[in-house]
Chain length 472, copies 3
């Protein structure tokens, strides 16, 4: 791994980038949003399994690219969805050496992609692999990683400490008992793992299994949810429980950022329809829009930072969804409108500095057109870092270019890795820090800002903004 | 201020940029579109007041950023809207030193923003401030600027001459008596200040105070407006009046660039409904679309260049609008469609080279998709420079990148500063000239064009295109 | 022409770009999609005519820019549409020296445009012109080119060989008898010219002359088309005929990429309505959406690669269309949605690796938002190169930037020139190869990939991917 990687080749800019990066390279990692399983840390004996268990099977960033070139998910060991099971005729590869070989044979597909960059970094910096991954080296590297994974230094808690993670937040359903978080709290281990309250499964009336989720909500909150009032009460109960276990934020997914305030009567009518299985698509849209406003109201009350991730059309590929379930690399972005959709919420709560609402997007055309102007005005708004497909060198460069002049750096909130791939965390943060250093170095080299300001901005990008936005 | 600021750090490109910039650095400023108050120049005794009166209170680019970080507009001295008045319980800060200190304490928010760049330039090049603005230097700098503003060289006319402004166009309601422009004409002062005809308040049926504006139009034109025919007559009367006072252009804002031709009967019916307060939203949309076509027709007749600024959803924040009124940093862009919306107008008038229609946008995704292809075909079309949030270094770079290859440089029209902040004018033009020099230097350094062509293009960017497009 | 043209000025990046470019500069040109008339090669005595016949009159990239600055198409020799004829009062310039002078007088309009770049390249590298084209040199250069065109080395077949074209595919209506392709096959000339099946004129019910086209389809296929079943039969017949003459691909234009599967009964009802002239706009939209799915089905059967070019609103300018017909530089892009529109097709056929569906766009905002994520998942999908207005240096840079990280290089398909301007082909491929080398050099210089990988990617960009995607 080159010491100057990802910096502009211009010697003047590169020298400044190197200097700025050096200021933050050793700072701890703040991970306010992601999808790592808390069980990794709750269970001190947790083992990552084979290299394939760790690096291939659970990572849809990896297998979607292989799938796109015609490699069946079955041959990569991706398990069928529980509803289907092996009985449905799906034969899944179980030979992990064979899966690894398939992956290595096609590793060239990742050239110039963020997954390729992270993978190279993980191999070199976590596992100490010194050769390039390809067909010839595949089995040697497999052996090397397998040996490492068997060692105690490669237990999750040990890696957490080695990665210098200061805090890692998970994402948890509103109905989650947070068993692992409770165990962690009780364990005395000093690693900070915090839950995040994600109520999509109960507030989006068209979520798969919504009715079951409502029953689970009743059970876990102790509030028998039978109408809108008890629903709100149960949610407030759960938020308090999450907060007691360390949560500082909530997270919300919606197909669009549409918001609208329903009267309590309307909300109750729709909710009762839904309980009877009679809610329409329009009901679901309006109810979700209303609940986003309710969540903003509750955030003002309890201080939880609110995150909104709109614009992903989930499970676009029916065949893959039916065979393997959700989160298999088949979620596709759609054009996303913020100015009109968020107007109701922002008019009611956007002027209140007690609210922190962090907006994400999969539609980069909204950066300069809507998101930066909105964040550059409303006190409650902040822009999240480049999300998902844009968590990449070019994605970050476009974000810096299109967001910062209008929103201002201080209306953004640093980085989050948003990953379920625990070992990719250091690589992802490193890309952000290098991309940020390079961006600032460009401003300095062009005499747009001075080096002093750049140093302060660099620290803000690395840890300052994220701690502030998520109250960590 | 570094001599090479905003140029690429690559030594080859930078050397060419420096050479190109030097060719135009001393050329006069042509300001064909903006919002400077003509009273500044009509009244030879006009004083700018305090540094805060000049630089903070009237500039929504400045105070919207502070507001976004939770600083109330009241504490920045922004006056409540006349309808509300202090009586409505709004307590506005009047201590300008205190406001200045608040601003300086938060000046770091502008790092990497165009407002920060302009402000640094103004402090250094207009006021001769030699230290960086921050909490510690705030009061010293306040004293320094206040002393300067008291001197006769800092009267508006003196600065106009010092800034080397050749012509400055204001923006004036169709109902404006142009008193200041008349006074200027009579004064014998040689500075060229020209009005621009902006009829939004009377042609957009849903404009605030439309009915009152129509009465004002009747009064000022001497044409009793009671139907569509007299409305058109009154507008033609006003255009002639503006032209007689030096106007060479009109300006039009609309939420979308929708155009449609109504029959005279339809237009008259809608207009009469509006006079009775019965026009619907749909009526207003169609009438605005029709009036854009009428304005194009009149432009062919009287030769006034037509400007269209669509896509701003004005006063998105109800609380701010109710408390402080319009133009308070809360106008938000929306996605804007040009290809279909302008089709009626372009089919009727777009082939006529007597018409010059300049299009602006707040939706950069339209640059390469719609605006450049349209401008690269229709003789009547030109593209305006990057507007508002995009009047910035990166905004300009994206504009050059996304527009020029398809539209061609000669279907654009140079720069306009579009500002009400008079002292920011030189800084804004300087950013454009430097950004343009850097863009052209990049083309030369890549052997895309030769230096000879680049010199001619540079002159066109600085003054040639704008004089031609606005007939100045 | 500078040896290093279009490469980044940074010496490190430039040196790598030069090295990568050198690897592919001499490779043959693969031209899988374009609009060159096959008659050029079928008729061994074909002559290009005058410089204006070759370079101005047929090239809407050229004359649309002159038209945009008020130069009438008549004065450039553009012939009126056959329906109108000279009788309609259109006086067309016939003095080719005069037309050439007009063009040269305005050649400055092409500064910084791809057409300018290609033209410079053609003049220098094909015709050996050594001076710059302008008003003064115009007639000398005309003489020079005219003399060259009279020589046998400037016959189309000779140039085809000199250009080192390995294969060139034309685009041909479903009803085309492919007379020239048959003649070519019989001629024994070793140049590969292949047809491409483009059925828009018969599958888009609202295509101009649709009813006549259906009769032509009946006649040429020998299948009397009187209902949906015979229509499908006739299309399959024609596809087989095209394939027998060397076609490896089909091409489809549609205003949007909307897809939907109709029942056979519905399809038949709509088709019968259309035969009676009773199809509605909605019928046409649904039928086109259905036929795209049918074409995917047939491609799986016969192995023809499927291309989709949506998003062009054809003949936006009524006056130009009425006077001169289609393809006169007045086609305008519209915003284009892929995620939802293609869902039906992709769910039915997108998982089948036997299908290759190549998507193009005139809406760059879809690159990172929709096209790259879709191509990075569905096995059947590939992204076509930057199309039309984006076949340019900056267009390619944006494409590499916005597509490659998410889709991966290997889900794209190299370059196609998509041109009817035969002599511009080498220049266009050269721009692609240089832009590609520069992109990869940037990745190497930033230590994103290593030089080894870059060399393999360069070869893929130049010829590997295109041969694979089009089965050439």
């Amino acid at each position: 791994m080159n010491f100057d990687r990802f910096f502009d080749p211009d010697p003047a800019q590169r020298a400044i980038a190197r200097e700025l990066y050096a200021e933050v390279a050793a700072l701890p990692l703040i991970c306010p949003h992601g999808h790592v399983d808390p069980r990794l840390f709750a269970d001190p004996d947790y083992s990552f399994g084979s290299p394939v268990d760790l690096l291939i099977i659970p990572d849809h960033y990896v297998f979607r690219m292989l799938y796109s070139k015609g490699i069946p998910l079955e041959s990569l060991g991706v398990p069928p969805s529980p509803q289907k099971g092996e009985g449905a005729g799906v034969r899944v590869e179980t030979d992990h050496r064979k899966i690894w070989q398939t992956f290595a044979d096609h590793f060239y597909l990742f050239r110039g992609t963020p997954t390729g960059v992270w993978f190279d970094d993980e191999l070199a910096n976590i596992f100490g692999v010194e050769e390039k991954l390809n067909s010839a080296s595949a089995q040697r590297i497999y052996d090397h990683i397998a040996a490492k994974l068997a060692a105690p230094e490669f237990k999750p808690r040990a890696l957490f400490e080695r990665f210098n993670i200061e805090v890692l937040c998970t994402t948890d359903a509103a109905t989650d008992p947070l068993t692992h978080h409770q165990a962690l709290k009780a364990s005395g281990w000093r690693g900070q793992i915090r839950p995040t309250f994600r109520p999509d499964g109960v507030v989006n009336l068209d979520a798969p299994g919504w009715r079951t989720n409502i029953d689970a909500l009743s059970a876990i909150s102790g509030v028998a949810v039978h109408n809108y009032a008890t629903f709100i009460q149960a949610l407030e109960n759960r938020r308090a429980f999450f907060k007691a276990l360390g949560a500082t934020a909530t997270d919300h997914a919606a197909l669009t950022p549409f918001t609208e305030e329903l009267s309590t009567g309307e909300a109750d009518t729709i909710f009762r329809h839904a309980l009877r299985g009679q809610a329409t698509t329009d009901d679901a849209t309006r109810f979700t829009g209303h609940m986003l406003m309710e969540m903003a109201r509750m955030s003002i009350d309890d201080g939880l930072t609110m995150q909104l991730h709109p614009g992903s059309l989930r499970s676009h590929n029916d065949i893959i969804f039916e065979r393997f379930g959700a989160d298999k690399g088949a979620d596709m972005p759609i054009g996303t409108e913020y100015t009109r959709n968020l107007r109701h919420l922002l008019n009611k709560y956007g002027n209140d500095p007690r609210l922190t609402l962090i907006l994400f997007t999969l539609d980069e055309s909204a950066y300069s057109r809507e998101l930066a102007p909105l964040a550059g005005h409303y006190p409650a708004l902040r822009l999240g870092p480049p999300w998902w497909f844009f968590d990449s060198l070019n994605g970050m460069a476009r974000y810096f270019d299109q967001v910062m002049e209008t929103a201002g750096l201080y209306n953004t909130c640093g980085f989050n890795d948003d990953t379920r791939a625990f070992p990719s965390i250091p690589a992802r943060h490193d890309v952000w820090r290098r991309a940020g250093a390079n961006w600032l170095a460009g401003l300095v080299a062009r005499h747009f800002i001075d080096l002093n300001d750049a140093c302060e901005m660099m620290a803000a990008l690395a840890t300052g903004l994220v701690k502030d936005a998520y109250k960590l």
